[in-house]
Each structure stands twice: as structure tokens, then as C-alpha cells.
């Protein structure tokens, strides 16, 4: 797939996370409740989880699209591995 096509898929994956929260009439109700939470509240918590679930495949596809973009702009597909100063990840 071309880099343009890959980016289109990334945008498509991320779009629901931006559009659904703004569509308030979709979830401005009390029923059905879940564990005592009105729909309004649990639906938005579910949206957070949905957004994460969509961001993961978007990340994987974007990595591929990035490589294609880098080549197109005259950079190596992967950045050359230099010896970064060894830094601890943990505090």
C-alpha cells in the first residue's frame, strides 16, 4: 500500500475517537445503566477504551507509512542506529 493509502487508514481509525465524543445526542441518556452508572457516563468511559483500541493499530500502520515517507524525503527507511548514551529507563 502507498504511504498515502496507509495514512488514509490511520485517519479512518482515529476519526471515531474525535467524532463520537462530539456527537452528544448519541449518549445524552440515562438508560441503559451499567453497574449503576447511567449510560451517559459509562458510554464515555467505553469511548476511552475504544480510542485506545483504535490507536494501537493506527500506531502500527503509521510506523509503516513513516518508513515510506522517510524514503520519499531522502532519508533512510530506519534511522541509523547510533550508540545513544546509555540511560536508565527506571528512576
Amino acid at each position: 500500500m502507498s504511504s498515502r493509502g496507509r495514512w488514509a487508514v490511520v485517519y479512518l481509525l482515529l476519526a471515531p475517537a474525535v467524532v463520537l465524543p462530539l456527537w452528544v445526542s448519541l449518549y445524552d441518556r440515562t438508560d441503559p445503566t451499567l453497574f449503576g452508572f447511567p449510560f451517559f457516563f459509562w458510554f464515555q468511559f467505553a469511548l476511552i477504551i475504544l480510542a485506545v483500541a483504535l490507536t494501537v493499530p493506527a500506531y502500527l500502520i503509521a510506523q509503516g507509512a513513516e518508513r515510506a515517507d522517510r524514503v520519499r524525503h531522502g532519508l533512510p527507511a530506519e534511522p541509523p542506529v547510533t550508540d545513544p548514551p546509555a540511560k536508565e529507563e527506571q528512576p
Binding site: 474525535v18 452528544v24 445503566t33 457516563f41 469511548l47
Partner: protein
């Protein structure tokens, strides 16, 4: 001091001391040859990985004030109070898309602030200055509000030194802020990064315990929602006349049809403005690579879940019968009533420490803006990296003193008004920064004019909003021009800004007005750690203003 619980106080002080020691020890963490440049002092060496960045950015964005103010709006029955959650959902896909580009171009050219990028891209010191001043102006009251968050907790704990003068009364606040200023001065960005581990761990523990334990004590979540709903309904019935006369706002849990656009535009406008704030840019630029940012876009929503649960504690406080004059005290008061003293101490410490991380990063970010885009751009164009770092360190102190004066000597309301305006103002810098990441079509003078119009129009709109308790700056919503739909002021001002920017760009391009020299190349927006140019930029500090 009277009415202070010894155990809660002792636990809080102990945790505060642990954090203070960590703050000073941070100078040795991920040790660099020298901290005498902004890449090290101001961006922590630009080397934080996914794990550190998650704590750091999360600790930076979800501030103590957020943790106090958001549940307070639900406690007070604001129908749009829960907008903080969709706001968090929308923000991260945007981060995912445009922040890697800002990261790349900043690393290639050694940009430390968003205004550095604007300067390099548009070759306009004036536009960069506008962006920098907007950032400083919006950040100062935000730091002040972190103090407000701390104050609220100290009040609930009953810790206020005897005496009437504000100087004596707020002594604990002074001490806490003094330590913060000292270790931020010494360790720079490393201090909040290290403290963020403790802050976030404490916050997670407190919230998880709170949302499991307290609702069970008061009869379960369904009872909590019922109790909140009943309380709002009876308030609306009792005050029906006042509401009809506009002297009180109706309360509720779920936005009615008329408030849908208000809810959605608050979420969208705040999400767009969030990542224009200097402290978010500083947090993101301190990461090691582009992938770290994208991975965090998938990991940071965990904090949104946390904030959502925490905000519902506003309803829990109603169900538990917490009665406070100042809604901001509702959740701290709930903790004091429901938790055993030692855990209440942990919870209070979590909020106080929660104020320190963002306050440190905000003061660093504001100091970097001053140093790069005012001091180096106008006052001392030949400043060395060491002089830049020294200037930033001093300014970070000044900014904190300014915030203290703000809260203690001026009125709290003033800080809250400015914070409200902060979101409106920051959104006006979006065209220059974000659109600039994708296209050079916009003309620099058009962007400057659009910014000016957005700033003036937004401020004027906010000034004109009155509420039952305030004559001006009464809230974030106005009627959208030519309609009676309430929307977030920032979005209205932003649209005006965009229209001016587009129209003037067409005119200025047609007149062939000098667009300035673009320092960046297309490939700069894709560069990653290890690419030629990225490392050199770090070594020498590329001359942005050369």
C-alpha cells in the same frame, strides 16, 4: 494550629519530604556532562523513553487543580462538568498526528519552544514573540491555580498558621513552594520527571481505593447517582423562581439538548488548546523519539479514566452528605470524612505533590519561552548556551514568585478568570504552530493579524459573560454569533482568527509581500533520533536566531 489530625499531618509531611529529597537527587539522575544548557536543564536531555514520558506527561497535564476543580463542577451540578472526559479522548489522536512532526523539526533545528519553531518556519521574530508572550501569559495563572489546589487541601487539613496576615497564614504554602523552586532551579526538567513517579503512583492508589471503597460505604454507585440526581432535582424545584429569573443556574448530571454544543465545543476547544500550552510542548519535546510520542498517545488515556472516576467523586460527596461552602473542598472533605487518618494523609499528600510536578514544568516552559524568544531574540542575541540556561533558571524562580503573589496578594478569582482566558488565548496560536507543521501557505503577517483578532475578540467575549455570581468573566460560554446556541468562547474566537488568517494570506500573497525565508525542509518533519542533523542539533544547539 487547631483541629489538625496528627496522623494525617505526619503522613503528608513524610511523603512531602521523600519528594523533596528526590527533587534534589534528580540532578544526578541520567547524569549529563553539564546541565548548563537548555537541552539538558530545560528538556531533561531530550532523552525520556516511553515509560518515563508516560509518568511525566501524565503528571504534567493532569494537575492538582484539575483534580480539585473537575469534581467540584460535578458536585455543584454543572451539566457540562464532565466535558473533561471527551476532552481527554479527543486530545490524544491529535497528539498522535501532529506532535511527531513538531518533535522532528525541533530536534533537527534545536528548537526548545513552539515559538522557536514559528521563528524558524516563518522568519518572523514578531510572530514568534506573539506566540511566546501568549504562552507566558496563559501559563502564569495556571501555575497560580496549582497553588489554589494546594491551598484547598491545606484548608481541609486545618493547617493554617495562627495570625491574620496572609504572609503568616500561608506559611506552609511558602515552604512547599520554596523547596520546589530550589530543586527546579538545580535539576531543571529532571526534577519533575523523577517526582512524577511518586505523584502518579500516589494519585492512582488514592483514586482506585476511593472509587472502590467510598461508594460501597455510602450504598453503591447506583445509589450515588440517584442521590446526586435527587439533590439536583430538589434544588431546581426549590429555586425554580430564581432559575427562571436567571439568578441561579439549573443543576443536572447530563447535558440537555440546549447544552450539547456547549459540551462538545468545550471538549474540542480545550483539546486543541491543551497541546498549544508551553508545558505540554516542553513535556513532549523531552522525549527520546517520535515513537515515544505515538506510544504515549495510546497509553496516556489511562489518566483520563482516572480523571473520570475522580470527577464522579463529586457525586459521591453529595451521596455521602458532604456539605461545603466552596465546592472545591468537596473531594478533600470527602477523603477526610471517609478515610482513616493515615490514608487521608496519603490522599492529601497526593494532591499537594500533584501540584508540584505541573508547577515545575510550567515554570520551566515559561522560562524557556522568555529566554529563547525574548531574551535571546531581542535582549542578548549573542547569548551562549550557558547564559541561556542561567537566564531560564532565574526566570523559573521569578515565575513562581509571580504565581505566589498572584494567589496570595491578588484575588483567587483573578487567577481563575485568567485561567479561563488561558484556554481561549492558547487556541489562537494553533494556526501558526499546527498548520505550520503541514503547510507554508499561510503568510506570516496574516497569521499575526489572525492571532491579534482572535486574542482581542476572545477576551472581549469572555469579559462580556456575566453569571449569577460574577459580572464579568462569568463562564466559558457565549451564544454563537447570529444564533442562540451556547458554545465555548475559544472556538468562536478561533474561527474569527482562521477567517482573518485565510483572507489576509490570499491578499498578501497576491500583493507578493515578502513571506520570509523558511529554515525548514520537508524531510525535517520526518527525521528521527539517530538521523544526521538530529544529534548535531543537540550537541551544539543550532542557532535558531542566527
Amino acid at each position: 494550629m487547631s483541629g489538625v489530625d496528627g496522623v494525617a499531618f505526619g503522613v503528608s509531611v513524610f511523603l512531602f519530604l521523600v519528594v523533596t529529597i528526590l527533587g534534589f537527587a534528580a540532578t544526578r539522575w541520567r547524569r549529563a556532562k553539564s546541565l548548563d544548557n537548555l537541552d539538558e536543564w530545560g528538556l531533561g536531555g531530550r532523552g525520556f523513553g516511553t515509560f518515563v514520558a508516560w509518568f511525566l506527561i501524565g503528571g504534567d497535564l493532569y494537575t492538582a487543580y484539575t483534580f480539585v476543580a473537575v469534581p467540584a463542577t460535578l458536585y455543584a451540578g454543572s451539566v457540562v462538568g464532565f466535558f473533561a472526559i471527551p476532552y481527554g479522548i479527543i486530545a490524544y489522536p491529535l497528539v498522535f498526528l501532529f506532535f511527531p512532526r513538531l518533535w522532528s523539526v525541533s530536534h533537527r533545528h534545536g528548537y526548545v519552544t513552539p515559538a522557536d519553531f514559528v521563528q524558524g518556519r516563518y522568519d518572523s521574530r514578531g510572530l514568534a514573540l506573539a506566540i511566546a508572550l501568549t504562552g507566558i501569559l496563559a501559563t502564569m495563572p495556571y501555575i497560580a491555580l496549582q497553588l489554589v489546589g494546594m491551598q484547598v487541601v491545606l484548608e481541609v487539613m486545618g493547617i493554617t498558621a495562627p495570625g491574620d496576615s496572609w504572609l503568616v497564614k500561608d506559611l506552609p504554602l511558602f515552604i512547599a513552594f520554596g523547596f520546589l523552586a530550589a530543586y527546579t532551579y538545580k535539576a531543571g526538567m529532571r526534577a519533575p520527571a523523577l517526582i512524577a513517579f511518586v505523584k502518579d503512583a500516589l494519585i492512582y492508589i488514592v483514586i482506585i481505593v476511593a472509587v472502590i471503597y467510598i461508594p460501597a460505604q455510602v450504598g453503591g454507585w447506583s445509589h450515588v447517582f440517584e442521590a446526586a440526581n435527587d439533590s439536583f432535582t430538589s434544588f431546581n424545584t426549590d429555586n425554580a423562581d430564581a432559575i427562571a429569573a436567571g439568578q441561579a443556574s439549573p443543576r443536572g448530571m447530563i447535558p440537555p439538548e440546549a447544552a450539547h454544543w456547549a459540551y462538545a465545543s468545550l471538549a474540542l476547544g480545550s483539546a486543541l488548546a491543551l497541546f498549544m500550552y508551553p508545558h505540554s510542548v516542553t513535556g513532549v519535546l523531552s522525549t527520546r523519539s517520535r515513537s515515544v510520542i505515538r506510544r504515549n498517545a495510546a497509553l496516556l488515556p489511562a489518566y483520563s479514566v482516572l480523571l473520570g472516576l475522580l470527577s464522579l467523586l463529586g457525586f459521591v460527596a453529595i451521596a455521602a452528605g458532604v456539605k461545603v461552602e466552596n465546592p472545591q473542598q468537596s473531594v478533600p472533605q470527602l477523603f477526610e470524612e471517609q478515610f482513616s487518618p493515615w490514608f487521608a494523609g496519603v490522599a492529601f499528600a497526593a494532591i499537594v505533590i500533584g501540584a508540584l510536578v505541573p508547577a515545575a514544568i510550567m515554570s520551566i516552559a515559561a522560562a524557556n519561552l522568555w529566554t529563547r524568544n525574548v531574551y535571546k531574540a531581542y535582549l542578548r542575541r549573542d547569548a551562549t548556551p550557558a547564559q541561556e540556561a542561567q537566564q531560564s533558571k532565574l526566570v523559573s524562580l521569578l515565575v513562581k514568585v509571580g504565581a505566589l503573589v498572584f494567589v496570595l496578594a491578588l484575588s483567587k478569582d483573578f487567577a481563575i478568570n485568567l485561567q479561563l482566558l488561558g484556554g481561549v488565548w492558547m487556541l489562537q496560536t494553533l494556526p501558526a504552530i499546527v498548520l505550520g507543521l503541514y503547510t507554508r501557505w499561510f503568510h506570516r503577517w496574516a497569521l499575526l493579524a489572525g492571532w491579534a483578532v482572535g486574542m482581542a475578540y476572545g477576551t472581549w467575549l469572555a469579559y462580556g459573560v456575566s453569571s449569577p455570581v460574577k459580572e464579568h468573566f462569568g463562564g466559558p460560554l457565549v451564544e454563537f454569533p447570529f444564533t442562540d446556541t451556547l458554545v465555548y468562547i475559544a472556538v468562536v474566537a478561533f474561527l474569527a482568527n482562521l477567517v482573518v488568517t485565510v483572507v489576509l494570506t490570499v491578499v498578501l500573497r497576491a500583493l507578493k509581500v515578502d513571506p520570509g525565508v523558511d529554515q525548514t525542509r520537508p524531510q525535517d518533519f520526518h527525521a528521527d533520533a539517530g538521523d544526521p542533523g538530529v544529534e548535531e542539533a543537540r550537541e551544539h544547539g543550532a542557532p535558531v536566531h542566527a
